[in-house]
Symmetry: C3
Subunit: 396 residues, 3 copies
């Protein structure tokens, strides 16, 4: 076995994990060791693919995707991950605007799962509803399995909800691990998760929440910056503070982008809608109040416009450690003069970091595949080892 692969296997074996048959809904529900396992399994799967070794652990089986919001990147990442492991994707398309409840969720969850191994759900439109919906599906699956309705209990992967975006934040972490050499090297590094101006509104909170909810566990100095009134879900902010102190890092909230950028090793400037706006928007969406939604949008865009200087410019980048902080984004970014008149980031900054940004995105299929594999296989190290040893070519 190659040294690289053997080290990954050793790392996976070293971490006692209970990812098996557990849904992946929030990173902070997982132990640090479990998160390390997710990363190492993702790296091992990438190693196999890069070396033309098949990672097909399923001879047949379905991976169901349910996208309750538009998506290209995550859709392709999910499809790639499923295909890598041997699963066929089947879309469940219930219509985007509809929030299913109670009986319908219970019944549909069973009906689609008779021969399914994995269900991936994206549901980020409604504050208080997305993650809750995933748990409702999970409870329905538990019940159907206990009742003997299902021969197996499919695993759920959160492809973005109102609270967290774990496949994004874990892909981001794998990117950081790759760039900085190890998770240990991230200790003490400063990351600035900051709001940025965008000419659109209503972007979900899951990315900034996912970042502060994950990076505070690495002993990093996490700064969260946003203009007054653009806060996140209070519980997640509290959690970030607690986690930072537990991990020997720090967590600070500031209303100054400059402050956050100062001496940062990593910056993550990204627009989002204020928590309170998302709450009002959810109420209006539920009520199907189109006029209310329109006037809320107008009000918010007007408010956004007060903060057009929250842009990741070359000048702002100069504030960072040696002027060379790693710029991150979940993509697509609002690039000033490129995808909009003025947006989250100056074109020259984005362009300088384009290649690392694309590499960052490239980890997502492997993170999703890792979440799938660790959900279905009790001993992922053994599973990966046997894939390596059987050396079936992916491409003949």
């Amino acid at each position: 076995m190659s040294n690289v692969f053997e080290n990954l296997i050793t790392k996976i074996k070293a971490n006692p994990s209970s990812l098996f048959q557990k849904d992946f809904l929030l990173t902070w529900e997982k132990t640090y060791g479990e998160l390390e396992t997710i990363l190492a399994v993702a790296e091992a799967l990438k190693y196999l693919r890069d070396n033309n070794i098949s990672a097909k652990v399923f001879d047949s089986g379905l991976a169901i995707s349910q996208f309750r919001d538009n998506s290209t990147r995550t859709r392709f990442s999910f499809a790639s991950a499923a295909n890598l492991l041997g699963l066929a994707v089947q879309d469940l398309d219930e219509g985007k605007s509809q929030i299913a409840h109670g009986e319908t969720v219970r019944e549909t969850s069973a009906m689609i799962s008779f021969l399914s191994d994995i269900i991936g759900i994206r549901d980020d439109m409604f504050l208080g509803a997305g993650n809750a919906y995933m748990r409702e599906v999970g409870a329905a699956l538990d019940e159907a399995y206990a009742d003997g309705v299902l021969p197996q209990r499919p695993g759920i992967v959160n492809l973005q909800c109102d609270i967290d975006h774990p496949t994004q934040s874990m892909a981001d972490l794998l990117h950081l691990k790759t760039v900085f050499g190890s998770l240990d090297n991230l200790k003490g590094k400063k990351i600035a998760m900051t709001w940025a101006y965008s000419p659109s509104y209503g972007k979900p909170l899951s990315v900034p929440q996912g970042i502060i909810g994950l990076m505070t566990r690495l002993g990093m100095q996490v700064d969260l910056a946003f203009p007054e009134g653009y806060g996140l879900i209070p519980e997640v902010v509290q959690l970030a503070g607690k986690q930072a102190s537990d991990s020997g890092g720090s967590f600070r909230v500031t209303n100054s982008m400059d402050d956050a950028f100062k001496d940062a090793d990593i910056v993550y400037p990204k627009s989002w809608a204020p928590f309170q706006v998302m709450e009002r928007r959810t109420t209006l969406l539920r009520a199907n109040d189109h006029d209310g939604l329109k006037s809320l949008e107008k009000e918010c865009l007007a408010n956004n416009a007060r903060f057009m200087d929250w842009e990741c410019t070359e000048d702002k980048m100069k504030l960072t450690k040696g002027g060379k902080a790693l710029y991150m984004h979940c993509l697509p970014a609002d690039i000033s003069t490129v995808s909009c008149k003025q947006g989250e980031v100056e074109a020259s900054v984005f362009e300088r970091y384009r290649v690392p940004l694309y590499k960052q995105a490239g980890f997502k299929p492997y993170i999703i595949a890792s979440m799938m594999l660790t959900n279905r296989f009790a001993d992922p190290a053994e599973t990966l080892k046997s894939l390596y040893e059987s050396k079936t070519s992916r491409v003949r």
Copy 2:
């Protein structure tokens, strides 16, 4: 080989069948032995899956699905069945409202079939058209195969038409076989296929027709009950009568739900639109007469409302054998106070039978897979045996 599996193989071998390369369009076009084979092959496939043995009989190949009406359950069942056997699903989406004719059907049928093994069709909106369309496709495929245009003649599986819903009724029968222990045990049992009130209208006739068209062949006492004016296609009702007398069972039509429920072993209360209404609706749909459709709907809902007491209540259930008849439904049901104010079934009745209902639905993927396999393999017993013996794991 396990005893269970060996018994299934023996049963399949015992029944000389000519399912090979024959479309599955109506259960009453198949011999009793052929239906037994469909059930046994379905059970064998379920055994393989439950024991983690791969049932992949296709290394590659396409299963085409054409849904001319919305569908979640049947869509997933079809996708699961195709995937179980190794086929990839490709949707043919011509637009729902369009009824293709003549040249178009002939040409499209050939064009989509060059590398296809199975075509599943759901076409239940137009009375007199759905099953006819399937036969038109079949004739086109026969011709294209005879002409050397196609290297193989793909098999057609009826996923619901205006006349029958064979994947539903056969899944229902496998459920009954499982609950009552054997097909023989169904002899003399009373099943009440009854209309039930629903606040919606236009539900297809294929389920009640499929049930009376199948269960009358098992020597059962089949009661069909509906309010005056809610009759089914007369030819199917006649056929049910003839089959009942041939099989040593009985078939009775009544306008009293209580009458049908009395001493029933099984009840299947379900709403449908009257045959005459479906005829008028088909004419209006063809004419694209929106106003006519609206006023027909209004008229029918008003008429439905006269029969709101056709609900499967706890009181009605007390009329059945020992008050303990098996409650069946093809799902989703209109559950009073749950999915609607008042509907087909009282909530407590539905809830008591929820687990068996879900199990009933769980047979459908295997029934569809069985129809696919018996269509493509001349000796299904040998095919299944060789799958068992090669013991390839489905999940590594």
Copy 3:
């Protein structure tokens, strides 16, 4: 090895080709030997399929399809080809009307390609834009691969653009090779690529351009006929002339359908919109000028109506060599009295050639699979030989 298959392998080996890792965008960018290889690989893949030998060269992997115009035939051909080789299809559906540019194309191309092997694109609506878009995607993929963003550089297959329709013209050529016995036998044969009347308008130019751009390389006598004002892209017409003289054939443009049909061995009568109209239409589409589009359509249909005698009738067929020219069409055809009142072809002519037409269409999946395989495998002869020798059954 069978003689047939061995001869194909010998032919593929004889042709030094550089199809490996090169996009297939225009037939005239490929050498004659490369085109011969595409045909022979397609025939070899068809041989394998017809003899139930698996052609799965991918254990897993994605084939992405991007259809920027409606399609049933090409969609199914692409899906069949991908499945034949072991790839799963994933659709990229950006919305039909949108023309993506610059950053978006660069980014999306990378984002969908992390685990993808092939990208098939159909983009034929906008003159000057379709083929250009494919090259833009190609450049983005080159860059992403060079930057280490992608572990492999997916190959692009042109599924129809504004300039060429290579999977169609190559399938047509394989049909001609099959009917006439060899490519050599096509030398000196006369093919009439002629405009024909249709009651619709706006049909792309890619088929006639593809035909004259390919058939002029075979030493054929190619006649292009259309009513005054119905010209093709001038550069393609010029190229056809040059190629004809290089190959020892001829190329002639005429405004008389009779002239073109006279003594023709093959006729290909098909409607298209004039080049100048497509230019105006592209401008209007880009400007989203609905009124302009409507009035352009009206003007064009009126103009079309002046040429209703451009119909492939029995009388016109009598002008061809022995009255027995091979009639070709890319399908679907506008058949007079069948699919429209009056159209491109008389019903009895079409019906007489229906079987050959369907066979013609049946080559497309294999042509696409051949383009995929030669793009991904450096030594297609060896790849095909090893498939033959391992003799894995496609159907168990």
